[in-house]
């Protein structure tokens, strides 16, 4: 009988392994028509968009690198990246990560899943990994498709960087791919917020919308004249900070800070989501989330993270103001002007001149009255001076600058028209506007070590 008793006692079933649960979650995600549609759209639409826009006479000059879409196929992926950071990635994270837990609430399948997998921890890990995989697939599609579209429509030409210097096609390719890799960090942060919303708010539509709402809030914050420390302390800054890769002296500090902040948000939001999930009572089939819990266990800790990050960034970088200062604007404008002047000289078949020979400088003021030349605004007015070899008198040109709070500026030539007026120049890809007429640049919000 002893043997019979021993046989009859059944061991506790082992939980399903994470790889198996992960495969199951992937099967469920990929079987959804909206996920399939998104994958298809992300792998096709950007390429078509870039190819179509690159062949139009009017370019999206308001978007960074948009004005160079006729010149090189590498501008298209960067225009797509700018658009993706603002709209596409927050929405994609909403649909994928923001729904990965809530969908089980909607379908009433939690109990079934728990009985089968037997571990809330492993379900969490599998769901997080599966949504991450799908997001990576979507981001890879956006990047890959826009690169292919740009290269097929325009070609593998050098790219004009944000300070006017030319990147070889190889450099451009490397930096474009690096820029896309960098925005994975804020995308992960939004995905973690999506997980948190999905866990906390259950079937409530707010869970699905949370990443998009948070991203929109952060974008609005980035548009306000906030101190640079606050700007850098938000994970959304990493959606902008990749700009710094496209200057000859790469502006890595803001980019690294943005990435670290994003990863900190990713870890904290994921840990919060995990803690809430494993404590959830699954005996309630119709879980609609708890507003109070969303605030106390979700919003408040993340607000605390923002406060701490602002303090740390301010203390370690000294970035307490807007970061847009007169000397930085002047130096940045002069650098871009010198690089583009050299390009213009070549396009006009004039004797070649180097940036060192030009010795370009800029003098900038802000506003028509005597106010401190500091901060964002469209009332910056600058005079650029330069020297040509063998010519004693310095050349001068006037620019109106529109500087946005994130440090990006658009310079608009205001004479003389022979230098920075609108006229066409001949380029290997056909006629193009005078490069000194209107151009983009950026001001690094943090003080560089040279300063």
């Amino acid at each position: 009988m002893t043997a019979t008793v021993a046989e009859d006692i059944v061991a506790t079933a082992r939980p399903v392994s994470v790889p198996r649960a992960y495969r199951f979650e992937l099967v469920k995600l990929v079987s959804q028509w909206r996920i399939r549609l998104l994958v298809l759209a992300c792998w096709i639409a950007p390429g078509l968009f870039v190819a179509a826009v690159s062949r139009q006479s009017t370019l999206p000059v308001d978007t960074l690198f948009g004005r160079w879409m006729h010149a090189t196929g590498w501008a298209g992926p960067l225009v797509t990246l700018g658009f993706a950071g603002t709209w596409a990635l927050p929405l994609l994270t909403s649909v994928v990560a923001g729904d990965v837990f809530a969908s089980e609430d909607r379908l009433g399948t939690w109990r079934h899943l728990l009985v089968v997998v037997r571990s809330a921890r492993r379900i969490f890990a599998a769901k997080a990994l599966a949504s991450l995989t799908v997001l990576l697939l979507l981001v890879a599609g956006l990047a890959g498709s826009s690169v292919v579209g740009g290269l097929l429509a325009v070609g593998n030409q050098p790219l004009v960087g944000l300070d006017g210097h030319l990147l070889t096609p190889g450099d451009a390719a490397g930096k474009v791919l690096l820029a896309w890799v960098c925005v994975l960090a804020p995308t992960l942060a939004l995905a973690a917020i999506g997980l948190l919303g999905s866990v906390t708010l259950g079937r409530s539509p707010m869970g699905l919308l949370l990443p998009a709402v948070v991203a929109l809030g952060m974008q609005l914050a980035q548009m306000l004249p906030l101190p640079a420390a606050v700007r850098l302390a938000l994970p959304s800054y990493a959606f902008i900070a990749w700009n710094g890769l496209f200057t000859s002296q790469a502006q890595l500090r803001p980019l690294l800070i943005g990435i670290v902040v994003s990863l900190v948000w990713t870890v904290i939001a994921t840990v919060l989501a995990y803690a809430l999930f494993v404590r959830r009572d699954f005996t309630n089939a119709g879980y609609d989330g708890s507003g109070r819990r969303a605030v106390t266990a979700g919003a408040l800790p993340l607000a605390g993270v923002v406060a701490v990050t602002v303090a740390v960034v301010a203390a370690t970088t000294g970035a307490t103001g807007s970061g847009i200062e007169q000397d930085k604007v002047q130096r940045s404008l002069a650098t871009v002007f010198a690089h583009l002047y050299r390009m213009q000289t070549k396009q006009l078949n004039r004797p070649e001149v180097t940036e060192a020979q030009l010795k370009a400088t800029a003098t900038c003021d802000k506003g028509s009255i005597r106010v401190a030349a500091e901060g964002p605004g469209n009332d910056w007015r600058c005079v650029v001076s330069w020297h040509l070899p063998g010519v004693e008198a310095a050349g001068t040109a006037i620019y109106q600058l529109d500087v946005t709070p994130d440090g990006r500026f658009m310079a608009d030539g205001d004479g003389p028209k022979e230098v920075n007026g609108y006229f066409l120049v001949r380029t290997p890809n056909g006629d193009a506007p005078n490069p000194l007429w209107q151009f983009d640049g950026n001001v690094e919000l943090l003080r560089t070590s040279k300063e």
Partner: protein
Amino acid sequence: MDTRLAVRARGITKCFGDVVALDGVDLDVARGQIHGLVGPNGAGKTTLLGLLLGLAVADGGRLEILGTPVQRALTAPDGVAGFVDGPGLYPSLTARQNLTALVALRGRDAGTAGVDDVLDQVGLTDVADDQTRGFSLGMRQRLGLAAALITKPRLLVLDEPANGLDPAGKKHVHGVLTRLAADGTSVVLSSHRMDDLQALCSEVTILATGRVVFSGPLSKLAAENRELDYRLLTSDPQAARRLAGDAAGIRIVDDTGARHDAEALVVRALVPALDELVVQLVHAGIALRELAPVVSPLEAAFLALTEPKETGR
């Protein structure tokens, strides 16, 4: 530890905040037995089924499933399967994909796991490759049963498995459950339908407000010393009514409801008194054409045990 029992629960309590869902519940389910769990809404049936599936852990008491004590959530032993609050199905997957994904989760091959076999058992072979999005409630129930069967359970826990089933589907499911029990699988199922329980279960447990008010064989429940309403159709209704009115232990129920025609006589009595009335009717030359309880003994017992006692007016 009684290893002949698939489930042995003693003094199980479970609370949700201030609400006591289960209050000192005892339950024994033998191996190979189909055990019914009945009770009004909110009686604690789903909570108890959830404990058996390991979804939650009791706040107090002792629960052994398949001979193994269960002390933490999600630690039910291998061999327990089933569903509560409806089967968990993914509408974007076909019936076959739902089952294939399930067996893949358990590290088994869909071909050898018998996906086609269980689909055939529950009568869903024809719709195996259709998305479950368009399935009726009955089809979903059957697929949920298939999902449980594919794990080759030793204890099957089902919450209202006959919900939404048409008569043919119900017969199909009953056949599956009966065969499982014959093969040694224990089945615990909840239902509001007494005919299902009578057709399937050898024992039932009746819960009311979290407490067990009856547990045992159906025959014992039906034979409890309780007065029932019986409907009699005789060849002479007037004479039968007079006899019933004079008979000891018989009360005529003045039921003029639509379901009783004028020829019918409804009396309330214990079985011995009813037997005596039948004898008297026959001696008086009155033919007895029909004699049946107005509600089944099981249902009557259920109502008597679970309906709140009326306070004296």
